[in-house]
Each structure stands twice: as C-alpha cells, then as structure tokens.
Amino acid sequence: MKFDEVREHFPIFKKLDAEGIVYLDSASTTQKPFEVINAVTDFYENHCSNVHRGVYRLGEEATEMFNHSRENIGKFIGAKDREIVFVRNTTEALNLLSYSLGSTLKEGDEIILSNSEHHSNIVPWQMLRERKKVRLKFVNSRHDRPISPEDLSPLISSNTKIVSLTECSNILGNINDIRPISKIAHDAGAVMIVDGAQSVPHMPVNVKDMDCDFLAFSGHKMLGPSGIGCLYGKEEALEELPPFMGGGEMIRTVTKENFSCEDIPIKFEAGTPNIEGAIGFSAAVDFLRNLGMSSVRNHEKELIAYTLKKEEESNIEDLISYGTRNIEKRAGIYAFNIGEIPKFDKEHISSENVSVKIHAIHPHDLSSLADRTYGVELRSGHHCAMPMTEDLGVSATTRASYYVYNTREDVDKLFEAIKASIRRFGF
C-alpha cells in the first residue's frame, strides 16, 4: 500500500471530506480503516462466542481468533504471546503495574518519572505512594529536547525500584531513546517501564532492542478499536507479578477458602475480555505492518518537518510552539500557542483580564475557531499532561497531531485556520 492510497481505506473520510473537516487529533484517538471495522463485524456476524472455555465450534473459532490476535500483536513489538496481557488501554496497563508490582514495594522505595508524562503515568504512582509510602522523583527536562540518560542519572539511588517513562511525549512530540535509559535503570537494579502509547503506533518499536521490562500501549491510538490495549511484560517479570484483578479465566482453581492462578498472561485477564476489540486490534497491526513502520515514521517525520517549515515561513506574530526542533527526535505532534496565557497562580492573582491584555487567544477559543472556520479539528487544554503544561508556564496549549492518513494539505489548512482565528479573535 502506498501513502496516497491510505485514505481510501478509511470510510470516515467520505463524510469528513464532504464536510470539509480535517482531523488533526490522532494523538488522542485514531480513525479506523475498513479492515479493522470488517474484522469486528465479521466476529459479530460469523464467530461470536466467548473465549477460552467453549469446546464447541463457535467457541473454538473465537478462541483461536483471540489467541491469534495476541500472538500477532506480540510479534509486532518483538514479544512472545505469553508476554502480552490484554487490558483496556495504556492507563489500565500502568495501573495494573502500580497495584501488582507496586504491592511488592516498601516504604522509602523510589520511583522515577518525568515532567512530560501523561497523567496515566503519574496518578497511579501517586495513588501507590498513598498506599505504600514510596517516594516519587521527577526528571525535569526542558521542553525543547528529549530526556537523556544524563537527566536520569542524578536521580538514581540505592532505593530506586522503578523507572517509568514515556517513549514519546504526547504534548511535546519528543522521542526519548529508551535503551540507554533502560541500562541505567537496570544497573541500579530497577524495573524499566515504558509508556508506549505514542511510540508503538508511530515508529518501529522492539521490546528486545529497547530492553524494557514492561511496555504499555493502546489499540485506539493505532487504528484499532477503543477498550483494548496491551501490557507487554518480560516473561520472567510477568511470572513474578502477583495478580491484579480476580475472577473468571484468571484462576486455576477456586474453593471457598482460596484460589490459585492460571499461567501468564491469562493470570492478569479476569473476566470476559474485549474479544472483538482484540481481533480488531490485530487487524490494525496487520494494516500498519503492511504499510511498514519505518514508512509510517518517515511519513510523520515529513509532516512535522513541513509543519516547522510552515511555521517559520508564515511568521505569525505571537505564535509559540513547543518540543524539540530536531526532526530525528520529533514525532508528528505540534503543540503551540498564540500568545502565552500564564498558568494560574493562587499566590499571585493579578486583577487583570490577562489574555486580553497580552493579546493571547485561549487554546479553547482557538480550537473552536479552527473548527468553525476551516473545519480543522485540534485538541486544546492540558492534554493530560498538566505538569509539563505547568512547566511550560502556560495554562494550556493547542495541539495538532498527525497519522498515516494526514497530508501536507492538512498542514496547510492548519495554518490557514490559525490565521483565520487570529483575524477573528485577534486584537
């Protein structure tokens, strides 16, 4: 498949093109190709049954499809099927670890995160801190360059038990090179957890190469259904973890007195899973593999390079953007502001209508206007990364994010929309 054919595989563009809508929010969730939609409806119309236990035909078909999906998704990141736990999303994967791995920590143990993490790689650990009196430390890196091993080293101590970092920031687009970071974590005897929500969909990712212990990612951010995601865990690491949720499937035996666990990965999958979700996710992986992950990465690299070039050429007053400008380390994510509205600070509440005074357009207004004027769909707010938003010193940003179906014309429209918004709302 070539990139100029990609859009034809996505039924929604018929509607979006007709209505003149440009979808630039793929970091939030992605559109679905008919290959994925068909995989889901095929399950409903021809194979619908529960998995694992049925010894009749339909049940066997469903189980085989479900098992195949696990194997296929595993291969996509260089893992065995035993190492793939199905969860709802990246968030659940990280919560699973915060409960299960977290239960093995003790008071004073330390967990290292960064200031560019998504809330789902912060809040679970804050909740664990309540339960276990562990300590959280933050790598505080600048917005304009990726996290480096040197950022991590000073935070390492003999109490470091977990290092949990994103491979790609969903607000900055910075790509962090995990392998050397993982080495530092392992040398310190810590477990390396990677939030792959923004990397697995957008670039070649191999768990062996990056040498992480755990990797979390979501199906809906890579052309698959929502409600399905994966936690990869090294075989030995998963085997050592206590279970997270209890119930059907994950057990070997249950008496009134006690239970024993099934083998990995089922040990971590209590209850009826999202069966059609897993099957659709596997179809999404086939679609991406077919495109080639290096091509996907190149396509997005081109789009972000073009965006930064447009930004420079267009010379828009008060346009400020964030993230590294090194294209090799930058994903297809572009967060920006038209004038920076400072973050709210209880101690220094100035009695002025700041945005009017500094001629800034609030991101909410900008994305409403971009939608209303040029049909350009942008996300605005904190992008579930409040700590980084705060470190940027702003109250919010507007973000465009690209995927396989976006084009240079979409980027052109983005800048048209920004200019139109300034004309409408500017001062």
Partner: protein
C-alpha cells in the same frame, strides 16, 4: 455549538473583552477556586453577602472567552439576588443567558463560574 453563533456572537465578544465585575473583593465572605478538568482553566470567585442578599460578586479567570463571558454575565445577573434566588438558578438558565448552543466540552467552560457560585453559597450558608 453552531459555528456562526460562536464566531459572530456580540454578547460573547463584549463580555469577554470588557468583563463586568472582574477582580477581587477585599473582605469577601467566601472565596472559591474552581478548576475545569477539561482544560485546567481556573476561576477565583469572591462573594459578599448582607444577610441573604448577594451584595458583591467578583472573579478572576484565566480562561477562554466563553468562561470569562459566562462569569461576567452571571455576575451581572446574580448581583443583588437572594440566596434562594441564586440557589434556584439552573444550569439551563445560565446557558440560555449566554445564548449559544454549546457542545459538552464548552458547556463546562460556560458553567465553571456557576459551579463556583453554587459551591460558594453552600459553603457560606452551611458555616453559619
């Protein structure tokens, strides 16, 4: 939200660019800080009562046009009202006063000042 409404709304523009009752009240009876989880925008809202009557209301927002304009319109409408009148103000009233058809996310922008007022009333009159 229908595009044209929003783009051309004069009420919105007016109240956003020159918001009424913007600022703080020294010697307020109640201060509420409310955050919109959708975007992290925040409002500080102060109120002063004489008995059951709201005699002053001021706020500072660090928010979008809709949240600022909504706070401005709300403050005008509530000034001088009784506790009971304020308690009986509904979300629907607030949205009607803005006069725009808003989607679910921007509705939250419009209602953050309303939420702050209702919380403030609760806190103030519970305390006594």
């Amino acid at each position: 939200m229908t595009g044209d409404d929003y783009i051309n709304s004069e009420i919105l523009d007016e109240h956003f660019r020159t918001p009424r009752n913007f600022g703080r009240i020294t010697g307020h009876d109640v201060e509420i800080i409310e955050t919109n989880p959708t975007c992290g925008d925040t409002i500080v809202l102060d109120m002063k009562f004489k008995g059951d009557i709201l005699v002053d209301i001021k706020y500072i927002t660090r928010g979008c046009s809709i949240s600022t304009a909504a706070a401005s319109i709300l403050s005008e409408n509530l000034m001088g009202k009784t506790r009971e009148e304020i308690e009986h103000t509904t979300k629907e009233d607030v949205l009607a006063n803005i006069g725009l058809k808003l989607g679910p996310a921007r509705e939250r922008c419009a209602l953050i000042s309303y939420d702050a007022v209702q919380k403030g009333i609760k806190n103030h009159f519970k305390r006594k």
